[in-house]
């Protein structure tokens, strides 16, 4: 591997401290739809942007992961944000630019970015299955 092992170990030392900070904190879990539909629509740049934003803004209690097809392929890339209670907000047709706003307003500020969500009625996100 090109980058040095020493550098990796440095990260490890740093990470140990941060891991302790992270423990006990219950933050957001962000998942990106990574089935064929999501990937073809641009899930990778969205995921990479999430990674960059989380690192840059030091959001140590946010985890980013993947999920399969969410069932609304025409709305991909889809990003779902779960809070510590397991409540979900679904953002559709995401782009790296939209990610920045979601990170700033939702993950940092706790305020849902309504304009990017699927459907919002009385502040509540309606899932496509329920609408149909």
């Amino acid at each position: 591997m090109a980058k040095s092992l020493a550098e990796l170990k440095e990260i490890r030392e740093k990470k140990f401290n941060e891991m302790n900070l992270r423990k006990g904190k219950e933050g957001y879990r962000v998942v990106v739809g990574m089935a064929t539909c999501g990937i073809a629509a641009g899930a990778r740049p969205v995921m990479v942007k999430l990674m960059e934003e989380v690192a840059e803004k030091n959001l140590s209690d946010v985890t980013v992961a993947q999920t399969g097809c969410i069932g609304s392929c025409r709305l991909e890339p889809i990003v779902e944000v779960y809070n510590s209670e397991g409540e979900k907000v679904t953002y559709v047709k995401m782009t790296p630019e939209k990610v920045t706003k979601v990170v700033d307003e939702h993950l940092k500020g706790g305020k849902v970015v309504d304009e990017y969500t699927m459907t919002v009625v009385d502040g509540k996100v309606i899932e496509p299955a329920k609408k149909a």
């Binding site: 591997m1 990470k15 089935a35 064929t36 690192a55 980013v64 993947q66 399969g68 969410i70």
Partner: protein, 181 residues
């Protein structure tokens, strides 16, 4: 797909869903032979033989959200339109291997694309699943192995911002090294 690397990202997601613990991604580029080959090998649960027969048929899929699966079909179409070959082998309980080859300078071959972003996205999306990525370019080899990193860091998951940033740079620099003249 706009980049071949997106097919790789897509196909490896199949391995994750097949409960693999290790995915091997091997890319070989040979300019003298004018060949680009991919092999994705996992130790997941495998594909039953009756399903394997039509595995690149869009209407053969194990997904439950709809009855169409395009991942392997599209990868096969990409390889075949570039004068290449495509093959899927699988054994239940052992794993699955996907092989695709492309004529390197074929006019219809889309670029490999951003492998650094692809690998980092794989790592983020794989959870505890390990990845061995081996890229050969005219005899020069770059190897990336998540097991090695986990061993050095003594962690189970690499899905941490600092580690991901390191991985992204490692892949980008590693590939640049093997590809320089």
């Amino acid at each position: 797909m706009k980049e071949l690397s997106l097919h790789l990202l897509d196909i490896t997601q199949n391995s994750v869903r097949a409960e693999a613990s290790l995915i091997k991604l091997i890319i070989v580029e040979s300019i003298p032979d004018n060949l680009l080959t991919f092999s994705i090998e996992d130790n997941g649960k495998g594909i039953p033989s009756e399903m394997l027969k039509g595995i690149t048929d869009p209407f053969v899929t194990s997904r439950s959200t709809r009855r169409v699966g395009l991942g392997l079909s599209m990868f096969e179409a990409a390889a075949k339109q570039c004068g290449g070959n495509f093959d899927v082998q699988s054994q239940v309980g052992v794993g699955t291997s996907v092989f695709a080859s492309f004529i390197h300078d074929h006019i219809d071959r889309v670029p490999l694309g951003n492998m650094a972003d692809t690998i980092v996205t794989m790592v983020m999306s794989f959870g505890v699943v390990d990845l061995l990525y081996e890229h050969t370019y005219n005899q020069k080899v770059y190897i990336f192995d998540t097991r090695e990193i986990k061993e050095v860091l003594e962690v189970q998951s690499l899905n941490e911002p600092e580690i991901l940033a390191w991985i992204r740079e490692n892949v980008a620099e590693g590939l640049e090294e093997i590809m320089e003249e």
